[in-house]
C-alpha cells in the first residue's frame, strides 16, 4: 500500500471558478456582497429597502437564489435594477458555477455593486466561495441569541452581522447584547448593525457599511502590488 499525499481543497473546482469571478469583479470595480441567513430572516426585504433608496442611475444588480419560484426576483425587479433569479431545483446553496452562468449576459463594467442573495440556509452556503468581497450574515430577533454559537461557521466567515426585525423587540424575548456578544465570541471584532426594515431605523448604518466597504475595496485595488 502506498500513500499519495494530495493537500488540496475538496471544493477546488468551485474555488477555481470563484477565484476567476473575484478577479473579474476586481477588474471591473464591482463590489460583490453575498447575503446569507436562515429562511425568513429578511434578506429580500433588506434588499428591497436598499434598492428603494438608491438613485435610479445607481449601477447595482441582484442575483437571488431559491430552491423554487421566481417570487424574490419579482419583488426585487420593481425597483428597476437588473435582477435575476437562480432557482437551484433542490440544492441548498449557491455555488460559483451558478453565479458564473447567470452573469453571462450582464456586462460587469456597467456595475458598481452586485448583491447575491443566497438560498436561506445558515450551514451549506458557508462552504461555497462565490467570489464575493464580503459575506454578510443576517440574524433576525425572532431567532435565538445563541445562533452564532450553534452555527459558528457562517458567523466566523461573515464580515458583518445584520440584526434584523428590531421593531419586533418589544414582543419577543431576544437579548440584543447577548446575541452580539455571541457573534463576537465566534468572530472577534465582527462588525454589527441593527436594522428594522419596517421602521427603517438602522438602515442608514447598513448603507454606511456598504459605502465604506466599497470605498475600502476600491482603495485596496488602487494600492500598488508589492
Amino acid at each position: 500500500m502506498s500513500r499519495v499525499v494530495l493537500q488540496q481543497k475538496v471544493l477546488s473546482e468551485n474555488d477555481r471558478i470563484a477565484a476567476h469571478l473575484r478577479e473579474r469583479f476586481q477588474q471591473n470595480n464591482v463590489l460583490c456582497v453575498n447575503l446569507i441567513s436562515s429562511p425568513g430572516s429578511g434578506k429580500t426585504t433588506l434588499l428591497e429597502r436598499t434598492l428603494e433608496v438608491l438613485p435610479h442611475d445607481a449601477r447595482v444588480a441582484v442575483l437571488t437564489g431559491d430552491i423554487q419560484t421566481e417570487n424574490d426576483a419579482a419583488r426585487l425587479k420593481r425597483f428597476g435594477f437588473p435582477v435575476k433569479q437562480i432557482t437551484t431545483g433542490g440544492t441548498c446553496h449557491l455555488d460559483a458555477r451558478m453565479i458564473e452562468r447567470h452573469l453571462e449576459d450582464w456586462k460587469l463594467e456597467d456595475l458598481d455593486i452586485l448583491f447575491i442573495e443566497n438560498v436561506g440556509n445558515l450551514v451549506c452556503p458557508s462552504s461555497y466561495d462565490l467570489g464575493e468581497a464580503a459575506k454578510v450574515v443576517i440574524l433576525s430577533v425572532t431567532e435565538g441569541e445563541d445562533k452564532p454559537l450553534r452555527y459558528p461557521s457562517i458567523f466566523f466567515k461573515s464580515e458583518l452581522m445584520v440584526l434584523s426585525k428590531t421593531d419586533l423587540l418589544p414582543y419577543v424575548p431576544f437579548n440584543l447584547e447577548e446575541a452580539e456578544e455571541n457573534a463576537r465570541r465566534v468572530h472577534p471584532g465582527m462588525e454589527i448593525v441593527r436594522v428594522s426594515c419596517q421602521t427603517r431605523i438602522g438602515l442608514s448604518s447598513w448603507l454606511k457599511w456598504l459605502d465604506g466597504k466599497r470605498n475600502a475595496y476600491l482603495q485596496l485595488k488602487a494600492e500598488p502590488v508589492a
Binding site: 500500500m1 500513500r3 499519495v4 494530495l6 475538496v10 462552504s127 466566523f156
Partner: protein, 126 residues
C-alpha cells in the same frame, strides 16, 4: 445538507488521482475537516458510502481527521486550540484574533494498492 456534494467532490478527486495509477486500486482516502467548515462527519460518511457503492470505488475507506480551531497570539506568537470560543492566549492572556486553522475542507491523501499479478491476469482474461 450539502455533504452529498462534498462526498461527490471527494470521489471525483480520488477517481482523477486513481487514473494516474492504472495498475493499482484506491483503498483509502483521507480528508481533513475543520470545526468551522460546517460539515457533519457522519452525514459525509453516509453520503460517501451511498455514492461509492457498486462503483469502481466500492469499499474505498474514508478517514476523517477533525481539525480544531487554532488561533495565534499577535503578542507572544503562541498558537493554541480555541475551546468553547475562548480566544484568550493561554500564555499571556492577550485576546488573540488571528485564526490560523479550523476551516479546513481538504483532501489529505489517497492510499493505493498495487494490483496483484493474478488479479491482473484475471482482468485481462475477461
Amino acid at each position: 445538507m450539502h455533504e452529498m456534494g462534498i462526498a461527490n467532490s471527494i470521489l471525483e478527486a480520488v477517481q482523477k488521482e486513481a487514473r494516474r495509477y492504472p495498475h493499482a486500486r484506491a483503498r483509502k482516502v483521507g480528508v481533513r475537516i475543520g470545526e468551522l467548515a460546517a460539515i457533519d462527519a457522519e452525514a459525509l460518511r453516509f453520503c460517501f458510502e451511498a455514492l461509492s457503492r457498486d462503483t469502481d470505488l466500492d469499499g474505498l475507506q474514508l478517514e476523517i481527521e477533525l481539525c480544531p480551531r487554532r488561533h495565534r497570539c499577535e503578542r507572544c506568537n503562541c498558537a493554541f486550540i480555541v475551546r468553547d470560543y475562548d480566544c484568550r492566549c493561554p500564555q499571556c492572556g492577550n485576546f488573540a484574533r488571528e485564526c490560523v486553522s479550523g476551516d479546513e475542507l481538504e483532501l489529505a491523501y489517497v492510499e493505493v494498492e498495487e494490483d496483484e499479478p493474478s488479479s491482473l491476469a484475471t482482468k485481462s482474461s475477461q
